[in-house]
Amino acid sequence: MPPSPSHAWLWWIPLLPLIGSVLCGALHLATLSARKRDPQAKGPAGLAPLIACAAMAGALALAVKGLFDLRALDAAARILNSTSWEWITVGDPRQPWFEVDLRLVLDPLSSTLGLVITGVGLLIHIYASGYMKGDAGYAKFFAYLNLFVFAMLMLVLSSSLLGVFVGWEGVGLCSYLLIGFWYEKGWPAEAAQKAFITNRVGDACFLIGSFLLLRLFGTLDMHEIVARMGADFRLDAVSDDVKLNIALAALFLFGGCCGKSAQMPLFTWLPDAMAGPTPVSALIHAATMVTSGIYLVVRLNPLFASSPAVMTLISGVGVATALIGGSTALVQRDIKKVLAYSTVSQLGYMFLGLGTGAFGAAVFHLVTHAFFKALLFLGAGSVIHGMHEEQDMHKMGGLRKHMPQTFATFLAGAAALSGLPLMSGFFSKDEIIAHTFNSGGVYYAFWIVGGLTAAMTAYYTWRMVALTFFGPERFDHHHVHPHESPAVMTVPLMVLAVLSVFGGVLGLPPVFHVAHVLNDWLAPVVAPGVAILNQLHPHEHLSHATEWVLLGLGAAVALAFAHTGFRTYSAGPEPDLAIGRGAPGVAAFLGDAWSIDSAYSRVVILPLRVFAFVVRFIVDQVVIDGLVNGAGSLAKNFALRARGMASGQLDAYALWMGGGAAVISLWWMWS
């Protein structure tokens, strides 16, 4: 490791939200007894968002400082280490067999993600102070939110895979707490449990992957591992056995990513997670937590790059997930579910990009997606808030007159999501698609599916816009009075709208003859992986002509399907009902995310339930309790019978004594 001075201030980045969380939690507990007496009492709970937002603002300021500090450094040595603490040391302290340090590292990748987390996070915190007003758990909400930001920052800033895992588990915990925030309603608690357990499967894979890495490299320090596979690493100089182990480790780590980032086998928790409050959906399930998987792959890029099979698998899983998510979003009625499946689909795109070796493009899409998806979620929250908790789009319509600011910002987000030209989403998605096309072979099929999904994305996005904001007003005017949300909620929307529209400047394609800011910024981080990929099969860049064709194709598809989607639904939800009548099987299949969740219920949950039943009633009640209680009753019965021996009759005693004497004599005789 290059000897760099240690910067203790880096620790404040995650610690500020942690302190905020503790303070908000204390506030919540302090007002608990007051609220038991009078549920409506608010008291000083109103301080909570101030504390939380202050913590987030502080963290953001420090992240920005970190950005400038990094920029001041030389490109090759852009790394800032924090002070480190010895956490685990196994073996001789001077020459440990295994050690893990608690250390934060700021490099281009972690600073990018840190800025996204703290920046978008701050906006969402401000929004939430308006959205959650009046809720009994106001302070608790901010405590959980800040705790989540702390865990997420630990995830992206930690130097060691074990520190990442601590953050990984922490965000999983906070996700559970926040999804089930309104647990009194019943189904949010189940959704939270589902999310946690599904993530657990991924976590197991993560652990196995890190065990394999530990065996391979003897350390869990990610920068150490990447450095070893860095500039001087020749893939053909490595034995096949080691390559297999590296591939296995990569595969298992990807399994962990599937859990956290809701990819193909483990995505069923994300739509259910919409049971949580909308700011939670925006922060955790759109902008940050679900992007942990992408962060992990980019961080350990040489590991993944060295195994073409794993890369192809990643792309395949990503594009399949994108297709499933996109097709399911076509028929959803709940506005949040549309966005949830859309998130699943876009995350699939990011993994598609990762699998082609376009690490920078995937991060670019991550950033733009954070902007526009958070915007869309917050906008949906604003709609739901204004419609008094109505989430069914079939019961909305014509809201653009009632909520103009929400409408305008929502349009910006929808444009970015559907990839309309010159929006941020257009550039990031197109870059991934270009890389896919460039990779050749099976990636052509992926490219086609990716294009199909892009079409679907445009279609369902503008369907959503049409059903919600246009068309006849389908709600009951006597009971529902939609109104615009307060400024504290609309200002963050506006900021995010600006970012969604203009965020594309971070990654303009090479045909524009402008530097790709993000790729250049991330170059030192992804260099090892790119080098390995070049060793494996170097391919030339796309010609400018091909690039323009692809750009044009993407724009055309997006515009065409957006227009179609909008026009089909601008008059109301009749086409949905027509599909329901005409092809009910297809509608049901799509609506239930290709019946994957029900398949899980049958194949996984049911046998587990049967097994649990067997264990509980047969093994536990009959066998174990039988043994234990049986031993007890055996002793009792024996004692009852033995009690008869003390009859009080002299004859009986005498006989026993005689018997004893006879036994002793016999024993003596026979010995």
Binding site: D651, L655, A661, A662
Partner: protein
């Protein structure tokens, strides 16, 4: 000649023992036991234990058995016309069977013990004519074994007190 007498006394002793067990009345048992004791005294005499024979007659037959007789007569157990307690367990009951087997085992153990032990042969001329010398017994009793002697005398004292306490008629017996 003395051997013949000895074996005859053996038989009488054993018959007396059997009489104790199988006699229907307690008085019969006492008398059988007395007969057994007399036979044993003769055996002691034949074996050369003159002093012990005398002690046997004086103490055992003369004191202890008389005590038994007193108690039986006091409790009026042998009177004619009164119903006897069922004297022994019936022969075919479990109890009898167990008792018989226990007794058999114990006896067998004793016999085997005797057989297997290597007993020193008595001198060629037979046992000495007189085996207990009162002088020597006295010396041993008051010398080497003086402590057990004192203990036994305390025991006798205690027994006297205990018997007095136990057998005393309670004056405060109410509603008997």
């Amino acid at each position: 000649m003395s051997e013949l007498l000895f074996y005859a006394m053996c038989v009488i002793a054993l018959l007396g023992g059997l009489g104790v067990i199988f006699s229907k009345s307690p008085m019969g048992s006492v008398l059988s036991l007395l007969g057994s004791f007399f036979a044993l005294a003769v055996i002691y005499l034949l074996a050369g234990f003159h002093f012990m024979a005398a002690v046997q007659i004086l103490v055992y037959a003369g004191a202890i058995m008389v005590l038994f007789l007193f108690v039986i007569m006091l409790l009026n157990l042998g009177a004619l016309g009164t119903r006897f307690e069922l004297s022994a367990a019936p022969l075919n009951s479990t109890r009898s069977r167990i008792a018989a087997s226990v007794a058999a085992v114990v006896g067998l153990a004793g016999l085997i013990a005797v057989q297997s032990a290597s007993l020193p042969r008595i001198a060629q001329g037979g046992a000495p004519e007189r085996v207990d010398d009162i002088n020597q017994i006295a010396i041993a009793l008051f010398g080497r074994y003086s402590l057990p002697f004192q203990a036994v005398s305390v025991l006798l004292l205690t027994t006297m007190v205990a018997v007095l306490v136990l057998a005393k008629r309670r004056t405060r017996e109410s509603g008997q």
